[in-house]
Subunit: 273 residues, 2 copies
């Protein structure tokens, strides 16, 4: 017996042929497809038609897709931002983080992001409008770095990395702070996760931590698309992608995510439109 395993992910495609009444050849769709040049779709409920084509189609894998909704639901629904609050975003130049920072600015918050290279820090400050940013790889003491960036503490933390960063954040949170737990990329490939020691802060500071994933929020796509497409058209949000060309470069692009090689949302380009 032989098994054929196809890696799947969010992609943008054009319908070549269709036996389904809702999809016609030539139509553009986004949703879960295989890591392959041609996909046989057996679960059409995984696909959505592309409504707006005045933006790069790859945006449907990012700002208008799963990472975009993740940033939107996590920031607005879980973090309940108020004007004037302080927001910290880790992995801030990534597919989700860059949007959280821009949403936070639109909400009237003070926003600081961290990332792992000077190039990413420049992007945060100059392209995405973060108020401040720091390279976590160059900090001896993350607790001190956050204290420097947030002398009066953090109201909202958008958690993308976990481990030692979370420990440092807990010490710097303000009372009634909110932590949206979106990802812990520093922990995914470890046999044992790094320890977190400072959870007692949850009590004294009455902190909320809420884990979430995008599938629970998919009913919000229509309102999310209307809002964000408007932001894009008005130039209120921007989006940076890191494009790997060709399927043969997809594996190394995936692996690169875990060392922070990518700058912005990692996409793989299979065919020009």
């Amino acid at each position: 017996m032989r098994f054929c395993v196809v890696l799947v992910g969010y992609g943008v495609s054009k319908v070549v042929d269709s036996g389904h009444p809702d999809f016609k050849a030539g139509e553009l769709v986004w949703g879960i497809t295989g890591w392959e040049e041609y996909s046989l779709i057996t679960m059409p409920q995984q696909l959505n038609k592309i409504k707006y084509t005045d933006v790069p189609l790859s945006y449907y894998t990012g700002i208008l897709g799963m990472p975009g909704l993740t940033a939107y639901a996590g920031f607005y629904d879980i973090c309940s931002p108020k004007k004037g609050e302080t927001v910290y975003v880790s992995a801030a130049s990534g597919a989700v983080g860059q949007l959280v920072g821009q949403f936070a600015k639109l909400a009237g918050c003070y926003v600081v992001g961290s990332a792992g290279s000077q190039e990413k820090i420049d992007l945060l400050k100059n392209k995405f409008g973060f108020d401040d940013a720091f390279n976590y790889k160059e900090e001896q003491d993350l607790t001190a770095a956050l204290k420097r960036c947030f002398p009066t503490g953090i109201d909202i933390y958008f958690e993308n990395v976990g481990g030692a960063m979370l420990d440092a954040v807990l010490l710097n949170m303000r009372e009634h702070g909110r932590i949206a737990v979106c990802g812990m990329i520093s922990q995914y490939n470890k046999t044992q996760s790094d320890p977190v020691h400072n959870l007692f802060c949850l009590i004294s500071k009455r902190i909320l931590m809420q884990g979430f994933i995008e599938p629970d929020h998919r009913h919000k796509y229509p309102q999310f698309h209307e809002q964000v497409i408007q932001y894009i058209r008005e130039g209120k949000v921007t989006y940076v992608e890191d494009v790997a060309e060709g399927l043969e470069n997809a594996p190394s692009a995936l692996i690169g995510l875990f060392s922070g090689k990518n700058i912005g949302k990692q996409v793989v380009l299979l065919a020009h439109e």
Copy 2:
């Protein structure tokens, strides 16, 4: 210069003399007083008049006081219990835990508690109506113990201990579970808190963790008292206290809390009414 430090805590007292128009000699009050036989109250807003005297007056330091409101607000407001859900309470025979378990039964939940002696386990099962209970000191593997007690997982965890117990709970939580973070008594006297490794579960299981303290909920005392006094009168909830007699025994009673010497809410009796 000499300093005189008076330890304070929740107590029940009778007014001996008063220059305040709202308080008259002979009236019974509860609230923050000193560890002393006679207290000079300079902040009368710390005191509340005792409305119901058909219950033991010491109840105003427990089931009708700070621990009671802690259990009430933490369980009903933070855990949002639904009939049929599974609830786990650590330090379950303590001042707060014993009430959480009884509230959970009243809400139609399946409730398991843990404590540190056979006497406490018997109390949980036979007096407070927990569906099951285990002695955490006799378990080699807390994760396995919780798996045994909750084969389908935990919906609600009322956190009183922290550390290794929290790690085991995270692995056993169900999707969309809620953790009310009330206390971490296993951690209070450590120079470095025990590590927690399993916070990645927050994401995949979409868990909410919410730290809280009683002062944020004090506006709920009137509704809480009406509800709980009714429960007490109808025999729907009960309360166990561990009484140390005399102020000279207060320090050892306090220290005993950290090794679990007390059975039920620890009170210190200074004078019989």
